[in-house]
Symmetry: C2
Subunit: 226 residues, 2 copies
DNA sequence: TTAATAAAATGATATATATCATAAACTGTT
DNA sequence: AACAGTTTATGATATATATCATTTTATTAA
């Protein structure tokens, strides 16, 4: 089997400095696995033996704390690395990961990535850079959401789906209202109320899971200042 | 000048794989700078040209968002790396950093660290591991705090100072009540109220900045389940 | 297709936290 | 020592969000 994925992190982003021989090798040892919507990819604590990235679909990272509630950290989209953040820790998943949509994950044994890091400094450097960008974005998003009120948080998440994930003003939201609540730290009822308000104000149009952002300007203002 | 810092990240943690020649070299090119309590170390957006770590003192990372309020991300303690998280991004500080106590920061030009990463795979590997631990801890703390109520958050922070920073049940809290509020995302008045309640309940003793944790068990319970 | 179940929606009420006001206790400065 | 400015502290009130209850609308399974 030979890789073909044009947007593969490994080929395009990270392996820009890896010799051709190494790339060929990686392409042959990679494996792919399909997950159905709702399937668990990793449980918290599972051993991580592979470097993984999302080829297609959508994946959520979440944790359950002592409050008994699920808290969603973030959502990975195609070509995001999966579990990069814990791959170098104790090689145990720090989060629960599950598929929000049917997803395909590409695996490369972690030991092979580690070997390349140890033998190819330029690859290691690019890897650190990529790692830094991913984690910084996650931390920034967490802090930003916490600084906002209910409407601001809901607006922020709608814009995240429209701008970052689907790159479209119309999209089928892949998570339930309850999951939006778990992502922004508010209750399901209040998320629904905020969405209803946006709908009545003609800022968005809702048809079940389908959401269209009608007034991008106002939603952005609500997200920014709310 | 020759390094002497026994607990230096560079010597002990990260340079375990660097050849002796490289260590000697690093020791000679490092510089140190003192910051008085309250002094700014980096402003958000400042260029980062050095890898830095905290030799002594205490440093806060914070950001000011559109709400006009300061939000503290975390507090670095001696031998923590400073700005590791943005060193490999755009080499611009993503946060404001200021000294909470008189502090000494040790600098090594980033270009030298980058050279070692590119030429010494084992160092790169250890660097990634260290990076991973630091960022994971930050993200976990952010999520945990957000999952708690007022008392739980205040208890959590008191335990953080006692257990992680000062390793003592009695300590002088280095930040104001306002800064505690900025760290846990509550208002100053409510932080003071929570502290007063803990005092009345004989869970802690307060004498200005001096705090003693009397009932560790109850405070831990409040932090865990609050 | 229908029943059963879950998700979305909305209202009423409770609760936690924020805001505003004020006073007391510090801190630093002259 | 006295002053101004800041931090800490506390109370009263307002506001935002959570909780509980109920209905409607989707989804899933039989």
């Amino acid at each position: 089997m030979k890789c073909e994925c044009k947007e593969c992190v490994i080929q395009s982003l990270m392996f820009s400095n890896v010799g051709v021989a190494e790339i060929e090798n990686i392409c042959y040892i990679k494996t792919e696995k399909e997950f159905k919507k709702g399937e668990i990819i990793y449980n918290k604590g599972d051993e991580i033996s592979d470097f993984a990235y999302l080829k297609s679909g959508l994946v959520k990272y979440y944790s359950i704390f002592n409050d008994g509630k699920s808290h969603i950290l973030s959502i990975a989209k195609p070509f995001d690395t999966i579990n990069m953040i814990n791959s170098f820790n104790e090689c145990k998943s720090l989060y629960n990961l599950s598929a929000l949509e049917d997803s395909v994950i590409c695996y490369i044994p972690l030991k092979d990535i580690k070997t390349i890091i140890k033998t190819n400094g330029n690859f290691a450097f690019d890897f650190i850079q990529k790692f830094s960008i991913v984690t910084n974005k996650t931390i920034k998003q967490l802090m930003l959401i916490n600084s906002k009120n209910l409407s601001g948080r809901v607006a922020f998440i709608l814009l995240h789906f429209a701008n970052d994930i689907y790159k479209n003003q119309v999209f089928d939201i892949p998570i339930s209202r309850k999951e939006i609540a778990e992502l922004i730290g508010m209750t399901t009822e209040n998320v629904i109320r905020a969405l209803s308000e946006f709908r009545l104000e003609k800022i968005i149009r809702i048809n079940g899971k389908e959401i269209e952002i009608i007034d991008m300007d106002r939603l952005t203002k609500i997200s920014t200042y709310g």
